[in-house]
Amino acid sequence: MTISRRDFLKVAGLTASASVLPNFSVKATNRKTHGEQVAMLYDATMCVGCNACTNACRQWNNTQSETDQRNVYDAPVELSADTWTMIQLYQSGDESSFVKRQCMHCLDPACVSGCPVGALQKSNEGPVTYDPNKCIGCRYCMYTCPFHIPRFEWDEVIPVVAKCTFCNDRIVDGKGPACAERCPTGALIWGTRDDLLAEAETRLDQDGGRYVNKIYGKNDAGGTSVLYLSGVEFEKLGFEDVGVEPIPMLSEGTANIVLPGIVLGGPFVLGLIRWVSKRGGWEESWPV
């Protein structure tokens, strides 16, 4: 509900009737809870590395293949402006695991908090979306992202920031993300976040030996819309410990104090300084 206190007081004062108040709270929220928003669950133990997801992503989003030196395979080495998702392989001794990379679609995304012009938004459906018509190309999002996800079209004259969109243009039509709908083994599934968390918990309960006992993304960075199960420790797959606090908390908390503090308190402090240290001078002209 985004009625400010001032609007509220204005309306309340005008009508002077308590009966209108409930009207406001009725139309207040069709905002989905995080649990109702869409999410994906990737189970690394079921992934066979077939790259169907990568190809589905390319087809739907029209991104260019990144071929190897013989121009044969689509062989991206890491995420790029053209590769929004990919499968990587971790291998060490007898231990190995595939791991899918893409935007984690944080519940409280640092990129959205930092974006000066609101080009990045956490949509009501769940995806973190990007609007090139707002973006100025400052690349702050690339630094704030705890998962190193956003990429930049360095070779374009007027580049855009590129990252997985969770196929937001499919989500709004009630379809699932292209990658999850294509996955042949069921390693990648989509649904509401609550359902997928329950599913992940069930798998951990029923087949605990198969997994390390953690759902990555459940609480990490305040929770993400892409959840991971793995048989290999997550650090080995390149998942850093980003804590469980939402990344923007400190920054936004500071902004909420500093901004009004200086704007409202600043003139008062300056006046006080001036008053206490009255040493003359103002009467003289400017320029000095």
Binding site: I247, T254, A255
Partner: protein, 379 residues
């Protein structure tokens, strides 16, 4: 006008043409960058999305902060002797922010719609980058108002801007608040990067550290510039005044040092300083050059030496440079297959515009009255 120039009316400094050539080269390269993109002209990449331009921006802004520090001291704290350096500080501040503005336009990828930062429906006030963008733009306007009376003095337009004179209290005050906001917010930018910035530099106190750093860096730059200008003009050095700049800087620097050390201790990061890895060494280097040496000058009898505050300023500025270099670049490094060093075009654009700024400052000092004819005494 031109009262200071009367003795050597036509003389251009020897370095005028080389610096002008550098400036023009930078202008040409900038136009080229705008029309071919960042990829062909810079070495920035997905692992190092910010390069030398951002580092230089974050280094120039505290130096250009001299304008706000001196305004605060002279107008609000009422130390009238500081008015002697108010004009050079405002001119330097104006040129400094101009360079920053140019580099930022070159830096942003979608420069064709830079004005989106002013579109009310787009503005994200949770973003410190937006706050900085707005504050710096508004502050450019304030500096323009403050510089106009200097440039138009003794011309027929002088009477048209009388209103600036009468509103200078509000104008200067607004400038100080805008500076307080954006100098500290430059530090707040990194509050979203706790997981990326090296822990010896990351702290929730970054906004306060950046603010204090702007204070002593601006004063250091003032000490340097005053010493140079007075020497170049063969004026007798007002030692007492330069000493007082040094002392103000010293107080500021001491506060910064206490906060920095306190933060290291509070966060339990002292052992990291004793580890002989690269970051430990850099932290020591920065602390020694930027803090210990200037403190050793400013809190001993050297502060009274005619060049004491000058050298304290030089070391403090070097420290600030190392600090901003680490925070925008080295301290953000992640293990990656690629690295970053500025391309020759990035470098020449940076050098060229700084050269242009210096030239402009030199010519303004030459043609306009920036220093008072007689000393302004305190009280």
């Amino acid at each position: 006008m031109a009262s200071l120039a009367s003795s050597k009316k036509t003389s251009l400094p020897k370095y005028f043409w080389p610096l002008l050539a550098l400036t023009l080269l930078a202008v040409g390269l900038s136009i080229y960058r705008l029309f071919v993109g960042l990829g062909p002209t810079t070495n920035m990449n997905d692992h190092y999305p910010w390069g030398i331009w951002i580092t230089i921006d974050l280094f120039i802004i505290p130096i250009a902060g001299a304008a706000f520090t001196i305004s605060l001291i002279s107008f609000f704290f009422g130390y009238d002797d500081y008015r002697a350096v108010l004009r050079p500080a405002i001119v330097a501040g104006f040129l400094g922010y101009l360079i920053v503005g140019i580099l930022l336009i070159l830096d942003i990828g979608r420069w064709n719609q830079f004005y989106n930062i002013f579109v009310p429906g787009f503005i994200n006030l949770h973003s410190f980058l937006e706050e900085i963008s707005l504050c710096v733009t508004l502050y450019m306007g304030i500096l323009t108002l403050e510089i106009l009376p200097i440039l138009l003095e003794n011309t027929k337009y002088e009477k048209n801007i009388k209103w600036i004179e009468s509103g200078i209290f509000v104008i200067a005050g607004t400038g100080i608040l805008l500076s307080t906001l954006h100098q500290s917010s430059l530090g707040s930018l990194f509050l979203l990067m706790s997981h990326k910035l090296h822990p010896l530099w990351y702290t929730p106190a970054l906004p306060l550290l950046f603010f204090l750093q702007a204070g002593y860096t601006g004063l250091g730059a003032t000490a340097i510039a005053t010493t140079i200008i007075l020497r170049a003009k063969n004026r007798p050095m007002d030692r007492k005044f330069i000493k007082r700049i040094g002392q103000a800087m010293g107080i500021n620097l001491l506060l910064y040092a206490c906060l920095k050390v306190g933060d290291w201790m509070g966060a339990g990061e002292i052992p990291m300083l004793l580890k002989p890895d690269a970051f430990g060494w850099i932290a020591w280097l920065e602390f020694t050059i930027g803090i210990l040496i200037p403190l050793a000058i400013l809190f001993t009898k050297f502060v009274g030496h005619s060049e004491g505050p000058f050298w304290a300023g030089v070391f403090a500025l070097m420290g600030t440079f190392i600090n901003r270099l680490v925070i925008t670049w080295i301290g953000l490094a992640e293990p990656a297959s690629v690295t970053y060093l500025p391309s020759w075009m990035e470098t020449m654009i940076t050098i060229g515009f700084i050269a242009g700024g210096y030239l402009a400052f030199e010519r303004i000092v030459f043609y306009f009255k920036l220093l008072p004819e007689k000393r302004v005494s305190n009280n």
